[in-house]
């Protein structure tokens, strides 16, 4: 079953390798760009869902306070709030769940395509779906980052970990760490900016403290974790991590998002959340209104 995802990736990677003058690093980068580009609608949907959830946080908090002793009523009110704002509480998870097998598939495709042992190569024989790729096997696994400086920077074996390669390859885990951190930081900033953009300066409507804490700890934990894994994973996978992170940085940057949103014809919606009328409340007309923006406190 898993092979349905993996084998096309392996085949496309081998095909790109053939098309790009047998440059496996370039093939990895191009395949990563293609996959990240094609999965952008899912990422955008996930971000949109996250933004909407943040916008209704203040109201959700009010509901929690109001119905803290009546779980049933709270649940009903929450559902109503979600319905009125067209928010699916697990809507952000679905695109994420779809993206994960794709990203893992890509990650594993690099591992399988760079077969370096008899066992890995015999496995590869059943994965190449595009005819004519057999004569390329084994893919070139030695890579010289700067051919002009080959004397000082000897070739890296992409199938081995940085610890088994020339010392300068230890820069790769560091690069993984830095780019993962930068991507996480940018993700956090983007979410924060979006939230601030659509809300006023009411204290309640700022990103919640706990949430910010989790995001901040992820910004610390994830880079360390990925950097640490890169020490023991093959250099080829570290290159994938770096490429993927750099593409992520472009995707999360305002310019990148703007271009991608145009490409995928995504509308920018900055509507304020719809407020709902609750029982026992003074009836309020349901409107999609834009609230006044208070001047920022200095």
């Amino acid at each position: 079953m898993w092979d349905l995802i993996l084998n096309p990736f392996v085949s496309i990677l081998a095909w790109l390798y053939a098309a790009l003058n047998q440059d496996i690093v370039l093939a990895i980068v191009v395949l990563t760009v293609i996959i990240r580009f094609l999965t952008y609608p899912l990422l955008a949907k996930q971000q949109e869902s996250s933004r909407k959830m943040q916008q209704i946080q203040p109201q959700l908090k009010k509901l929690q306070e109001k119905y803290k002793n009546d779980k049933e009523k709270m649940s009903q009110a929450q559902m109503k709030l979600y319905r009125e704002n067209k928010v699916n509480p697990v809507g952000g998870c679905f695109p994420m769940v779809i993206q994960f097998p794709i990203l893992i598939g890509l990650y594993q495709a690099i591992f399988f395509a760079l077969a370096a042992t008899p066992f890995q190569l015999v496995d590869l024989s059943e994965r190449l779906l595009i005819p004519g790729l057999d004569s390329l096997i084994p893919l070139q696994r030695m890579w010289t980052p700067i051919p002009q400086l080959a004397e000082f920077l000897p070739a890296l074996d992409l199938t081995l970990a940085p610890t088994e390669n020339p010392h300068y390859s230890l820069l790769l885990p560091l690069l993984v760490l830095i780019t993962t951190w930068a991507q996480q930081k940018l993700t956090m900033m983007t979410t924060k900016q979006k939230s601030e953009k659509s809300d006023d300066d009411d204290e309640d409507e700022k990103p919640r403290g706990g949430q910010t804490q989790i995001m901040q700890s992820m910004t610390t934990i994830m880079p360390i974790m990925f950097g640490f894994f890169s020490l023991s994973f093959s250099v080829g996978l570290s290159i994938y991590f770096v490429a993927s992170n750099l593409i992520g940085i472009v995707q999360y940057s305002p310019q990148g998002r703007s271009v991608l949103d145009k490409l995928f014809r995504k509308k920018q919606t900055d509507d304020a959340p719809v407020e709902i009328v609750l029982e026992d409340d003074e009836p309020v007309k349901k409107t999609r209104k834009r609230r006044k923006k208070k001047p920022r406190k200095k």
Binding site: M53, G92, D123, M225, L237
Partner: protein
């Protein structure tokens, strides 16, 4: 902070960790190669040698049990520190950790040579299963070495063939290749023939290592060629099978369904049997320009090892965990046996004829798997299973 948002963040973190673990485990669960099985003679008796992962074991062909170590002076059983009888198992973990995918070579009654995947040549005392000396090599080894007179030819996993003296183990010459040599070198007409994953078949002068000829076969070559009637028969990953003269000329070729990895077999009539990694078995007439006699898909998955030909049967073992007996004349399936848990059957098979030195009275077919619980399975010719190692 709302529970839902917290859960979503946690889910993201858990998925990221799971992704890394799943992906990271891909490498861990894949071994380097498959078992190597062959016969070694110690004290005039033939024993089965099995090299795979951490261990090299010598087994009794009659029942698949590891040999017992005995004191050469009085014949008493040697005991370990817990007073249990010691078995003939060389464990890499007892000597700093090493993996083995190559058969041991018996030099004399006191010396055995084993190449380790960690990149060293071990001089082993076969009586006590001790390692008095380790000679560092320049690369890992995944294939069997060849011994001709007083020279051992060691193929390197990442490229190159090293010829070393059997007297002092010094390197006499080395021939470099762009990619690894994953098959035992072959002696043919005083040349060393080496197949390389770099798509070439090399013929070298066995004394000097000088290249006599090389042939690009359009795809990786990972098997030892079959030498018959002064011709070499070998398959490549270019989905082709070749008949090559000893002066390096391709005489005939045949298109297969997938990569050919195993060494072919030839019967007394000059019919060649080969299998490919799509599960096909082919019969070709070597006396008629490799004309196909039959070609049948037998297995659901690839067949890595070369076939065994015995009487009117062709026997193959597949990655689908089954052993197949075919009619030699038309390739029709006669019988098949399923190994428990359907482990991948990747190692070369071994066929043992009854003999006094083997201490068996019926022919045995040995099939190796990559399942640590059933590394070697012995069948009688009718497909009946006789023993399994380890038990």
């Amino acid at each position: 902070m709302l529970d839902l948002e917290r859960r979503r963040m946690s889910l993201y973190l858990i998925l990221s960790l799971a992704a890394l673990l799943v992906s990271g485990c891909v490498g861990a669960r894949m071994g380097v190669s498959w078992p190597s099985v062959g016969l070694v003679e110690i004290n005039g008796e033939q024993n089965i040698a099995l090299a795979y992962n951490n261990d090299v074991a010598l087994l009794n062909p009659a029942n698949g049990a590891p040999l017992r170590l005995v004191n050469p002076l009085n014949g008493a059983a040697l005991l370990d520190k817990d007073n249990n009888p010691r078995s003939w198992i060389l464990r890499g973990s007892d000597f700093g950790g090493a993996q083995f995918y190559s058969l041991p070579i018996v030099v004399d009654e006191e010396t055995m040579l084993v190449t380790a995947n960690s990149g060293s040549l071990w001089k082993v005392d076969p009586v006590l299963v001790d390692v008095p000396r380790m000679i560092p090599l320049d690369d890992k080894v995944v294939a069997d070495s060849l011994v001709v007179e007083d020279i051992i030819y060691i193929p390197y996993q990442n490229g190159g063939l090293s010829a070393r003296s059997m007297l002092d183990y010094r390197e006499i010459w080395r021939f470099p290749t762009e990619e690894g040599i994953w098959a035992k070198p072959l002696l043919a007409a005083d040349m060393i023939i080496a197949s390389s994953v770099d798509h070439h078949l090399y013929a070298l002068d066995r004394s000097s290592g000088q290249l006599i000829w090389s042939l690009d076969l359009g795809g990786s070559v990972a098997s030892t060629p079959l030498l018959a009637n002064d011709r070499l028969y070998v398959g490549s990953f270019n989905k082709s099978f070749f008949e090559i003269s000893l002066d390096g000329e391709i005489l005939n070729s045949y298109a297969t369904q997938n990569w050919v990895w195993g060494t072919p077999a030839m019967d007394a009539n000059g019919i060649i049997y080969l299998a490919d990694l799509s599960g096909y078995v082919h019969a070709l007439d070597s006396e008629n320009y490799l004309q196909p006699l039959w070609s049948n898909q037998i297995a659901e998955r690839g067949i890595r090892a070369g076939p065994i030909v015995y009487q009117d049967r062709v026997i193959v073992a597949s990655r689908d965990g089954r052993v197949y007996w075919l009619d030699r004349r038309d390739g029709v399936l006669i019988n098949s046996r399923e190994i428990d848990n359907l482990p991948e059957l990747l190692g070369d098979m071994l066929f043992l004829e009854p003999s006094d030195s083997l201490k068996i009275d019926v022919p045995l077919l040995l099939v190796s798997s990559v399942d640590e619980g059933r590394l070697l399975i012995a069948f009688e010719v009718d497909g009946r299973q006789t023993w399994v190692y380890p038990r």
